[in-house]
Amino acid sequence: MKLRSLLPGAVLVLLFFSAALVSYLWTPFDVTLIDIKSRFQSSSAVHWLGTDHYGRDMLSMLMVGARTSIAVAIVAVGIGMLVGVPLGLAAAANRGRFLDEFIMRGNDLVFAFPALLIAIMITAVYGAGALNAIIAIGIFNIPVFARLSRGAALSLWKRDFILAARAAGKGASRISVEHILPNIMNLLIVQGTIQFSLGILAEAGLSFVGLGAQPPIPSWGRMLADSQTLIMTEPQLALYPGLAILLTVLGLNLLGDGLRDWLDPRLRRER
């Protein structure tokens, strides 16, 4: 059962990660190279996936686009984890007290702003760009990790081994770091995978409406936006970036499901 989603998920994720990594060293063509004469070529031995409206090689664009998507999503999830987890742990350590209430209400507040709205506000102020997309998706991720780690930590605080640690004279923050955190790591990894896939989707959406990575940096969302006006005559331009997003997100979701089953045997149920 567990291999059914873990393996295909890992394969897909590995494929796109390697494409992104390889693109740092090598791409079939230079993505900044504009060659109008060879635009709109279909798949061939030279251009495996053809060329776009500027004559740029689609495969190279997709490889560099993978880099943009993955970088934005990874940093955004990192922000969410680095800020959200300590907040969640602090809330759990001070459960029922003012700090807990304060952190959780703050979470509710951030939840009221969908990532897109945060991005719109940031863009309205500072202009569009990959960095602002990272900040927007990152802020959106904070309450997700804060809630998750608070919830998981709360049940751990009632356990005997925590009581033993307190009896040994350890303070709340030391217990949180030394005992609680390692025990919720699995949960965080699984949620991290899911948020990562949502981050890829969010980045693509923001780039699609022009709020994410700016030209000449290739990104999957931007490629789709460019292809929108050409969809009648050159539908293949819209096909590849869309498929790349779909397969990466699918891979991450399958990997997340598989990891959850694999890391937590108690959850190994038939659904």
Partner: protein
């Protein structure tokens, strides 16, 4: 229940006040002055000053915050810098596109998810279940704006059943208006329907394992009778929660889809306003969407507490 209601209402108000502060402060730190932006580089100083006074930009930030919030409460959202028309009128016009679109998408997603979830749960582990679950995996992973483009390619360009974009307005007839909202609504509904199907299925599976279901079967009810009489009603609580929360997601998610289909809704309005630095419009529309999200969450919480009294004491 009354105590819970008062507590939740106070939290709702506090959230809205802080949210309005966040929106106002974020937008207010914008470098540059809308008045000089509107009048261009060669504007006379006194002309700019006159426009600043007209737009109320010469007042202090605190005064402007209170007049903005006061306006929001009374339905006066200020005047658009670029169009020189009341923001409330612009929002109301666009609302007639965005709101029906969100409701349409919500209906579609529920209509797809309900039978699919029930069907998958009642045939757990079978081929149908596997196929439905695989489809939901795809539905969650597909970017809805890309799906929208594929819909346009197939149904508008190749088959010619729908127009590729635009909105004729409700004056052109309900049928025509709904027709032009159909592809956008499908594109919006797909990911939501996938999530809802999964929630419906797992919620139903939880209920099917309950003791009272075994009792119902032992009483002599058939599987189908037990499912319809006992299981569905109990499984609906988490499903209704998700439906409630999805509404606000649909309203915000429509921002991108409206751009694919060139629909004159709130999403297009927000982008046009960013482009023309019409910040009073951005401010008000963002606040309106936040209000929608917070209000829906509040209503869902209340509904939950009403159904399940144990939740009233929690938190």
């Amino acid at each position: 229940m009354l105590h819970y209601l008062i507590k939740r209402t106070l939290i709702l108000l506090a959230t809205l006040i802080v949210a309005s502060l966040v929106v106002f402060v974020t937008i207010e730190v914008v470098p540059g002055d809308p008045a000089s932006y509107m009048l261009g580089l060669n504007a006379q100083e006194d002309t700019v000053a006159a426009l600043r006074a007209e737009l109320g930009l010469d007042k202090s930030r605190v005064a402007r915050y209170f007049s903005w919030v006061g306006g929001l409460v009374t339905g006066d959202f200020g005047t658009s810098y670029t169009y020189r028309t009341p923001v409330a009128d612009m929002v109301a016009d666009r609302m007639w596109v965005s709101l029906p679109l969100a409701i349409y998408a919500l209906l579609l997603s529920t209509l797809i998810a309900f039978p699919a979830g029930v069907y998958a749960a009642s045939r757990r582990g079978g081929t149908t279940d596997t196929v439905v679950m695989a489809l939901t995996q795809l539905g969650v992973a597909i970017p809805n704006f890309w799906f929208a483009m594929l819909l346009v390619l197939l149904f508008a360009i190749n088959l010619g059943w729908f127009s590729a974009g635009g909105f004729p307005g409700w004056d052109a007839g309900v049928f025509q208006a709904l027709k032009s909202l159909t592809l956008p609504a499908i594109a919006l509904a797909l990911p939501q329907a996938s999530i809802l199907t999964r929630v419906m299925r797992s919620s139903l599976l939880d209920v099917l394992n309950e003791d009272y279901m075994r009792t119902a079967r032992a009483k002599g009810l058939t599987r189908r009778q037990a499912l319809w009489k006992h299981a569905l009603r109990n499984a609906m609580v988490p499903v209704l929660t998700i439906i409630g929360l999805q509404f606000s997601f649909l309203l915000a998610g429509a921002i991108i889809i409206e751009n694919v289909f060139y629909l004159p809704g709130l999403g297009r309005l927000i982008f046009q306003s960013i482009a023309s630095r019409d910040l009073i419009v951005v401010e008000s529309v963002v606040m309106l969407l936040v209000l929608a999200v917070v209000l829906v969450t509040f209503l869902v919480d209340l509904a939950y507490a009403w159904v399940d009294p144990r939740l009233r004491g929690a938190r």
